[in-house]
């Protein structure tokens, strides 16, 4: 276990550094920070609402992640498969689990960095008024956990295909279903054909419900378990996909 984590850490470090080998990282971070700011000010009406909180900022994170996180995730495995480096990776003295954990951790840390770089919004709201910084902290934690879930799903789908565009579209679609599964529209359509426990299960799996709960300023254990268990499940699926492709 210790070796697994230490190997995964080495891979994570290498992968994280690799993000900055090309200008892509800077482009992604720039777009992320600009988009979160633009959504908060122009769509969320942050300034016009005159309220010292970051609701207008966090409310659009699920929808932004639908576009931006699959873009980070799509290259995780699809690129390796397309260029054939996955075979090389698998010949290294590391297990697929270590590679999966390492790659995921690096990508999650990268999105975490993007979130950290939105700190001017936090400074802005504290400059303008007296916000509840506890709620803001909880919202950042919730946003980071949700990004992890988006990313794990994206990584799994990336491992299923060689084509990055297909990986992106599929990941965005699946994440969209997870985001909206608690909505009335989706619930009604599920209840029309599925037994009640399935519909309840689908409702429980909604990103929005759990995320909104956390952005109110309260970190509930069931929401944390939800995001972490979903990440674990998607990484397990990722491992199966990688090992299947390896054996194929």
């Amino acid at each position: 276990m210790r070796d697994t984590l230490s190997n995964a850490y080495i891979i994570a470090k290498r992968e994280f550094a690799a993000y900055f080998a090309t200008p892509l990282a800077a482009v992604f971070l720039t777009i992320f920070v600009a988009a979160t700011g633009a959504f908060a000010f122009y769509i969320g009406g942050f300034f016009d609402r005159g309220q010292a909180n970051l609701h207008a900022f966090f409310a659009y994170h699920p929808w932004l992640y639908l576009l931006l996180v699959p873009a980070v995730a799509m290259r995780l495995w699809a690129e390796e498969r397309k260029s054939g480096t996955i075979e090389l990776l698998m010949t290294l003295p590391i297990s697929p689990t270590e590679a999966i954990l390492g790659k995921f951790a690096a990508a999650w840390a990268f999105i975490g960095l993007a979130l950290v770089l939105t700190f001017p919004m936090w400074i802005t709201v504290n400059y303008l008024g007296d916000p509840d910084n506890g709620v803001i902290l909880a919202s950042y934690i919730g946003s980071f956990l949700m990004a992890g879930a988006f990313l794990a799903i994206g990584a799994f789908i990336s491992a299923m295909t060689k084509n990055q565009v297909i990986a992106f579209i599929l990941a965005a679609t699946v994440c969209f279903l997870f985001v909206t599964s608690g909505m009335e529209l989706v619930q009604n359509s599920v209840r029309a054909w599925a037994p009640r426990f399935v519909a309840d299960g689908v409702a429980t799996m909604s990103f929005l419900t759990h995320y909104e709960q956390i952005t109110r300023g309260v970190l509930t254990l069931d929401s944390i378990i939800f995001f972490l268990s979903l990440i674990a499940f998607a990484l397990f699926a990722n491992a199966i996909a990688v090992s299947q492709k390896k054996s194929a």
Binding site: F20, V27, T30, A138, T220, L221
Partner: protein, 668 residues
């Protein structure tokens, strides 16, 4: 033990050997995807179980701990001395239609479980799903719950709570409105409190305000009761006392004297004796009761002479002709209609928060913002024997303005223009305690006509007749108390009670919900409760009401407003005089009896140009009002959307370029 384990192992091997043999024949791919399907089932199960089991486990990061049980609730629950049975009705179908209701229900359920645990099981909670046409629905309706229509067939969904105690006392929350989610802990605790302490304290109310509604003398229409009374009645039995009452009954636990119009000397003596004998009082006195100006038909300085006299005996001086204005706590108001409407800071309407509310006093617990209108102020009588503790104060930039400049027909712009910071803080509300002397050292006054201090007398002399005429007082009777320890809370404003300053009423499913936006009611009910010795709910009452506006923007707006209003007035005056001059010249020319010389024509043209120029300047002044705020908005947008991303891009690209240049040079 070892034998037992071996037996179990053998049994399990036998049971699963078939399964293992079957699985070993499967291809690796089938096994892998089968494993994934099992993991999916596990994921669903874990989440379904955790949402039911771990609902109570949370880290509450909110500043006011809105999602944690407050000490006030714990005190109420631990003080329960008889069991309470609560039934929560929640229609599952309602949760399916609106997941926000389902989430809210989960919150209430976990809170009630915690409540039940804290009460040592005295609070018993039952959860029911009142499906359409079921017995549970009948019980929900019979309990008084309000339903929400679910579909075109008329099926109803319910989400409320009904609770009873052992003596058949019944309390109800007819529908848990999401609008009031911030107050849910308070509402449930309050319900438990009223069931577990069925004996309510009694508050005596002496007031000329239309607290329970009344007829508007101008429109002749009935006005509704003020929301504050409903809040008070939730915790107290209310007994109205006349303004000419001669004795405060012993059953009164606390007295609320709110802006009397014609308190008689006899009544004042009754209050005086009640307080000196240990009675508690909350007194509100206002130089300009704006919310009820028509009802009271009062002009500033009228009708509060006796109360002013009592306050003086308690060590407090109140000037009924003066209002406290404070630029730093001024609220923004809109006055005038249509295109003439102007939004500005009204220095006589105060929104108090932070340092202006004494955080050392128990009353300030949970009270963060209070709205007052044309409030008076209190000063300590030199050499007073009582202790005066300010509870509400203005900023040190406050000034005194004449009460006649406020109320109906006041000119907020004029007040703002003439504002000059007084350099001292004014006390708007204070707690009075300690030894006080009777305001009637000679004993009970014979009657009001002797004194001339009734309503008629007030109208004549105003509150300047604070000193009652000693000749009218009889010798002290055997029951007269000359001095004693007093306990009172005095507020120099009565508008603090009026709905328009602290709450708005929303309609939902035919029911009215009061959504407070300031802590006024919490403050007043808390004051009554504090004086009757029950502090449990004081801090809890204010939770969930917190106004977090952009203070920086408010400051900018205020500064700009002051700066430009002066300019605007000067320009308007100049425009008027130019227009008059022009009109004079033009009308003389139009009459045809004057030959307009070239010089005069030049003057007319000059005036015209001046007028155009002044109007342009005026427009610019109006535009400039928002300039600073717009420019702040623009800067913040630029910083968050462009500047920071640009810096990231520059640093990121620079870093990449540096790395790529460094790499080849690193090669041997």
């Amino acid at each position: 033990m070892t034998d037992l384990l071996s037996a179990v192992r053998a049994r399990l091997s036998a049971m699963f050997s078939g399964l293992v043999a079957w699985a070993s024949n499967l291809s690796a791919a089938k096994l892998a995807w089968g494993g994934l399907a099992l993991a999916g089932v596990l994921l669903l199960s874990v989440n379904l179980i955790s949402s039911n089991v771990f609902g109570n486990w949370k880290a509450d990061l909110t500043e006011d701990r809105l999602y944690s049980i407050s000490p006030g609730s714990v005190a109420v629950l631990q003080a329960m001395d008889e069991p309470i049975a609560a039934r929560v009705y929640f229609s599952r179908r309602l949760g399916e239609l609106a997941p926000s209701h389902a989430r809210y229900f989960e919150r209430i359920r976990s809170m009630l479980e915690e409540f039940s645990r804290i009460s040592g099981g005295k609070l018993q909670v039952e959860y029911l799903d009142p499906e359409p046409f079921s017995d549970a629905e009948d019980r929900a309706v019979a309990s008084g719950l309000t339903g929400r229509r679910l579909n075109a067939e008329g099926e109803m969904g319910y989400f409320g709570l009904s609770a009873t105690n052992s003596t058949d006392g019944h309390e109800l929350i007819a529908f848990f409105s999401p609008d009031r989610e911030n107050f849910v802990e308070y509402e449930i605790t309050k319900l438990i409190h009223s069931l577990s302490s069925p004996e309510k304290r009694r508050v005596g109310v002496i007031s000329a305000l239309p607290l329970d509604g009344g007829e508007n003398p101008m429109t002749k229409q009935q006005t509704p009761a003020w929301g504050i009374m409903a809040q008070i009645r939730e915790f107290f039995d209310v007994e109205k006392l006349a303004e000419d009452v001669t004795e405060i009954p012993n059953r009164i636990d606390v007295l609320l004297v709110a802006q009397p119009k014609g308190l008689t000397a006899q009544a004042a003596y009754a209050i005086d004796q009640y307080v000196l004998k240990g009675g508690k009082v909350v007194a509100l006195i206002d130089p300009m009761p704006e919310a009820s100006q028509f009802h009271l038909m009062q002009v500033p300085g009228e009708g509060r002479a006796e109360l002013t006299k009592l306050l003086k005996a308690w060590g407090l001086e109140f000037d009924p002709t003066k209002v406290a204005a404070d630029i730093r706590n001024a609220r923004r108001v809109q006055f005038g209609r249509g295109s003439e409407g102007t939004v500005t800071e009204f220095v006589a309407w105060l929104g108090l928060s932070g340092d202006n509310i004494n955080n050392q006093d128990v009353l300030s617990q949970g009270v963060d913002n209070l709205n007052l209108a044309s409030s008076g102020y209190l000063t300590q009588v030199p050499g007073a024997s009582t202790t005066i503790t300010p509870i509400l104060t203005t900023s040190t930039d406050a000034m005194e303005v004449s009460a006649s400049h406020t109320g109906m027909g006041s000119n907020p712009l004029g007040l703002l223009r003439d504002y000059k910071p007084g350099g001292k803080s004014l006390t708007l509300a204070a707690r009075v305690s300690g030894e006080a002397r009777s305001a009637f050292p000679g004993g009970q006054p014979k009657d009001d006509t002797d004194l001339g201090t009734g309503a008629a007398g007030d109208a004549k002399d105003g509150d300047k007749t604070e000193e009652a005429k000693p000749a009218a007082e009889a010798t002290p009777g055997p029951n007269h108390v000359a001095s004693g320890p007093i306990n009172a809370i005095v507020v120099a404003d009565s508008d603090i009670l009026a709905d328009q300053f602290w709450a708005e009423t929303r309609q939902m499913m035919g029911r009215q919900f009061v959504i407070p936006h300031a802590h006024n009611a919490a403050f007043i009910v808390g004051a009554l409760e504090n004086l009757t010795g029950s502090d449990d709910l004081i801090a809890l009452r204010g939770r969930g009401i917190k106004d977090r506006t952009f203070t920086r923007v408010e400051e900018l707006r205020r500064d700009a407003e002051r700066q430009y209003r002066e300019k605007e007035q000067a320009l308007t005056e100049r425009l008027k005089s130019v227009e008059q001059e022009l009109e004079k010249l033009q009308s003389a020319a139009a009459a045809g009896n004057v030959i307009v010389s070239d010089k005069e024509r030049e003057a007319i043209d000059g005036f015209r140009n001046q007028m155009v120029e002044t109007r342009r300047e005026l427009r610019q002044v109006k535009l400039a009002l928002r300039q600073n705020i717009d420019s702040l908005d623009g800067w913040l947008k630029f910083a968050n959307i462009a500047l920071v991303p640009l810096l990231i891009a520059v640093v990121g690209l620079g870093w990449t370029a540096w790395r790529s240049r460094r790499r080849p040079s690193a090669k041997p």
